[in-house]
Every structure is written in C-alpha cells, then in structure tokens.
Subunit: 335 residues, 2 copies
DNA sequence: GAGCTTGATGAAACTGGTTACATCTGTCAA
DNA sequence: TTGACAGATGTAACCAGTTTCATCAAGCTC
C-alpha cells in the first residue's frame, strides 16, 4: 500500500526544470525567499512539494564548509555524571545551532582515538574530550586536522588543549580534610580504575596530600555493585575504619546500601562520604555528604567554548570550576 | 608560538599539484592505495603530510550519498533508562560504522519536531524516536523526506512506523497483578506526567485493567525528588495504602528513601514496587521488586533495525520485548 | 523619449571529492 | 616484429548545492 519509492531523490535542477526557472532561483527560494517575486516563488514551492525535494545536507556543507555538529567523547553513559554533562552540553550547543554526536570510549584510549577519527570522518567541526590522558594517535589527529578540541572534567592550565574542568586534586583533598577535621584518622578510600582514568589518579593524589590520617585503599570499579563489594571488604577488617571516602557518588551509594544491608548505621557506626554530588546523593537516606562538582555548568561552559572556537575561531581560555563541600547527613564527628 | 594557521585548508587539487600527479591518483592513494605504484604513492603521501591535507567529509558524502550517522530523539538524558538505551544504541550502531547524534526533547513534541528537522538539516540518515506520540510536523517531515524512522520503548504493531519496544500496558498490569496476588487491595500508584508521555499513559491503562484493588493516584514527575514528595503525601493519609507501585524505578527509589527517612519499614510496614529495573533497583536496600525491561537489548535491536533500513533498505518488523517480574525484597504479603 | 536606477532572473563558475573512460607504457606470446 | 593485454595514470564529467556577475525589464526623472 505504500506509495512507490520515487526512483531517485530529486535535486535542485529537477526542481528548476519543473518550475521553469533556473537553479539559482530555486536556491534563492530556499535561502532568501524575499528576493524572489511571490509569483515565481509559489511556482518553485509547488515544484518542491510536487517532487518531494529535500536539499542535500552534504551539498550545503561542501559550500559553507560547515557541518554544524561537534563530537563528544565520554567514557560511558552509564554513570549519571556523564549523562548530566552531555545533557548540559547538548542543550547549550543547541543555542548556537550546533548538534552533538556522542561517542563512548569505555575508558580505552585506543577506542577513543578510533572513535575520534570516526567523528572527523563524518565531518565533526570540533571535539570535546574527557580528561587529559589520551592516545598519541588522537593528539596526532588533532594536530593534523587542526580541529578545535577541548578537554573537560579536568583543569590543567599548562595542557596543550584548552581545559574546562575541576582541580581534581583539590576536590579529594577537600573531602579528606573535612573528614580529618571531624576527627577521623583511619579512612577507607574507595576508587575506580586509576590506570586509565586521569581524574581518578588526580583524586588519589589529592588523598595522598593529606598525610595526617591512615588511609586504606579499595579499588573496585565505578559501579554500585563495585561499591557494595568494597563495603563487604571494609567491614571484614579486624579494626574497621571510622570513615569511608568514595571517589564517586555512585560508589558511595553502593557502599551505603551494603552497609545498610549489614545493619551498620551511617553515620553512627561509620561516616561515609562521596564525590560529584549526583542527584541521588541528596536524596538517599541518610543524605550523602559529598563534594559538589558543577557538572552542568561545566557542560554549558564547554559548549560555549567549543561553539566560540568553531564559529568565530576564538580559542577558549582554560576554565576552572570550584568544588563545594556539601555537608549532609552521612558524616559525623568521630565518636 | 603556535604555527600560523595556513590561510586555507588544502584540497585534492593542491595535493595533486604539489605531488605532480592528477587528482585521480591522489584519490586512489586515499581509497585504493594498492592500485598506485609505491613510488607515486609515497610522493603523494608526502604531499598530503606536507600540506596537512584532510579529505572533506562533506565532499565525500555528496558522492556517496551517505553521511553515516543517525539521530536519536530522547526526552532526557537525566533518567538512566534513556542513558542505558542510548549507550546500547550507540554501541551497536558502531558495529555498522554508524555514528549517533543525540537530541533531547524534554518531552515536548514541538521541540522534538524542531530537533528532528535540525537532524535532517545536518544530514541524518535515519531517526530513532521515543514513544509513538509525536507532533504532526514530525510525521510530515518523515513523510516528506522519506527518512527511515523507528519508534522505540513502545510496541504498537498497527503504528505507521516500525516500533521496537514493550507492551507498556502489560508491564504495569503484571506489577499490579503481582501486588494483588500478595493480598494488597489498597494500592498507591505514583507516576509522572501522562499528558505528554504515551508510555506513562499506557502504564496507567494497565493499572486500570486490574480492577480488584482500590487505587490512589499520585502524579509528581519522574525524579527522585518527585518520589519523595509523593511519599510524604502517601503517609499523610488517614488510612495508608498497604502497597505502593511506582511506574518508574527512579520514582520508587525516591519513595523508598523518604519512607526510610520517616522510619517506615519496607516491606514490613508497606510494600514498594518499581518499574524498569534500573541498575539502582537491585542494589538499594531493600532490593526493589520491579518489572525488568530489557532496555539494552531494545537499544541494540533498535540499532540493528535502523542500520538495516539505512544500509540495505530493509524496512524492519515491529519487535516486542517481554517484561519480566523481578521479585526482590521490597514487597511482602499483606500482613 | 533618453538616461538612470532598481529589482528579478539566469548562465556559468565554483565547492572538493569520486569515477568512467581514455591514454600511455611495458611485457609477453605468436 | 607485431599484436594483445595488463597496469598505471590522466582528463574530464559528475555529485548537488551556492554565488558571482551579466542581463533584462520596469519604473522613475528630467
């Protein structure tokens, strides 16, 4: 019952012929209708409808040199932190009439480099990267194509690419100092893979900067389940730490749920602290003390930066976003 | 210190001239290197490096008629259900060498139609929609451009576009029947906006299909905070319901946290059930009884469907994914 | 009625690739 | 020695738009 597929997509010349005008006139109807007499315009518009003409994006792009989309490379969409970032990025890019192509890298620099190449192959006008740890191939790609590229989630003013993000060292330092300030001297730190993730590495460095506490490290990935596994490890210890710092809220929530499961009260029996301030953090019970990272504002800033670079060739400045301690219910003074 | 930006991007002819060969040869070096003598190939490759030549994606696209990306329109990235969907979609599309452009609509059909137009303007080869409730302009766009488009999260075999998704009516019916089976006859149902969201509407219809229980409805949006607000409402009632069914896990978790905050035990004091089976559901304490929707498999199926349509003009079949009851710890027989 | 301006339209060049077809060179068999 | 054939390369057309510049007609002034 479907209408037969027209043998071929019609183009400008087809329309011009059908309307009895030149291609230039059709082009004008499309881009500057007011310069065309209403009478001819209507003829042309009728032909366009008749032939179901849809201008080819590629042909436009070849003339303007613009494709109007940028690519973003993130480790995963599973973690709300990146989803929130992309939401803000996409939202703000829309204001500059730019679209967002998303590619996930699974934290693998090789895959990231491949996907970046793929984005360039389809015509991305700019790249938004996560972190500052990338494959040489990717740097070479950026160098070769001279594509505008910024690094996010990480502030590093001496870095080759403009960075827009946080001082991840300071972030965990803030958290550690807060816990130490509450009297905790025996702290479990739960984190994700540090080998491929520069933010985790920086956060671990921040932890190490605070020397007046004993720290035990637990490395178990970045998921809720990983947090739960870590919690089981932690409570098995002969002498339990008095506080747990998780370098991501997702982990912290996993830890919290597992502690609850074992009847361990937070913060009465043990203090728990997260990092990122995801929507869940303020809503769980007890509400999670954490370090707020303004990920949405960062996403917007990244959008503005890459848009300005792409549109007006304005190379953006590095941009630092301050973390804020969110003191809530999951931490208490050491009893 | 940066090297001066070359006044202009170099193109095929520039390279050809520099290497002392024809444009055809350069093109061959790019696309079929084995057909070119090693000696000439090297000359050309040297020129390419020298001039920092990068082939134009648009020019390629104009010849192949392919842009190699599809667009996905989702209500939001804030809810993990869509993030998971997109993750699977992007992942699987990659296997067909297709990229994914993401656009968020905020559940507004007008915005959705605009963004869809935007996606077409930049050359999307296919569209993946959420749900089956769309603006007439969007249908018109699909009709006019004849772009492959599928609807997801919703199975509706009589729908114009191929649908890949669930029977949302059955999903909530399953949940209701389970609760009734546990002896609950006074159930609170918490849901998001039904005016713009067809899935919510279908789920409400499923609830209404189960008639042997008294149902009280609470409408408060789809966030954790909305769940908490609903919980406060629910416990204010003179006679509390014995079970709460939330038409989304996010809401259910919000309800759970608020109940915990008020010292109300789940499931001893009240049974709680969610829907979707997000990663959080199985990890919270008590683990949430819910209806599992295979969102990742659906995302993969959507990718395969749209890829097959775009690449091989195979119009996909409607595809139904079965929900599974996940009986966990948050529900109990009515005491 | 000649001269000038203004507005609408068309012809053709141009964007940057791919590719059909022609040409040229060299090898080998008859 | 010639013809056949294969392999490498070049010429030019082609994709589907935009844009420059020329042309032409209408309207206005003097």
């Amino acid at each position: 019952m479907k209408p037969e597929r027209p043998r071929k997509r019609s183009n400008l010349r087809d329309v011009a012929k059908a309307a009895g005008v030149s291609v230039a006139t059709v082009s004008r109807v499309l881009n500057a209708p007011q310069t065309v007499t209403p009478k001819t315009r209507e003829k042309v518009e009728a032909a366009i409808r008749e032939l179901r003409f849809v201008p080819s994006a590629a042909a436009r792009a070849i003339n303007s040199g613009r494709t109007r989309f940028v690519g973003a490379l993130v480790p995963t969409l599973d973690n709300a932190i990146f989803a929130k970032f992309l939401a803000a990025l996409e939202q703000k890019l829309g204001q500059s009439n730019l679209s967002l192509v998303v590619a996930t890298t699974g934290n693998d620099p090789k895959i990231e480099a491949e996907k970046a190449q793929g984005l360039m192959n389809i015509g991305a006008e700019g790249l938004v990267l996560s972190g500052i740890h990338h494959d040489p191939t990717l740097y070479e790609l950026i160098e070769r194509t001279q594509v505008p590229a910024i690094a996010t989630s990480y502030y590093a003013p001496q870095y080759d690419l403009p960075t827009i993000g946080y001082d991840n060292v300071l972030t965990s330092e803030t958290a550690m100092k807060y816990l130490v300030g509450l009297g905790h001297t025996d702290i479990a730190v739960v984190h994700g893979q540090s080998d491929t993730n520069d933010r985790t590495r920086a956060r671990l460095a921040g932890v190490a900067n605070v020397t007046n506490a004993k720290v035990r490290y637990y490395n178990n990935g970045l998921s809720l389940m990983d947090g739960r596994v870590a919690a089981r490890e932690i409570i098995k210890a002969d002498v339990r730490p008095t506080a747990i710092l998780c370098l991501s809220d997702v982990i912290a929530m996993g830890v919290l749920f597992e502690l609850q499961r074992h009847g361990i009260s937070v913060p009465d029996d043990i203090s728990l602290m997260g990092m990122d301030d995801l929507p869940g953090a303020s809503n769980v019970y007890p509400a999670l003390t954490t370090v707020h990272l303004p990920v949405s504002r960062m996403g917007e800033a990244a959008a503005v930066a890459i848009a300005g670079w792409v549109e007006d060739r304005e190379v953006p400045e590095h941009r630092l976003f301050e973390p804020t301690l969110m003191e809530r219910e999951s931490t208490a003074r050491r009893s």
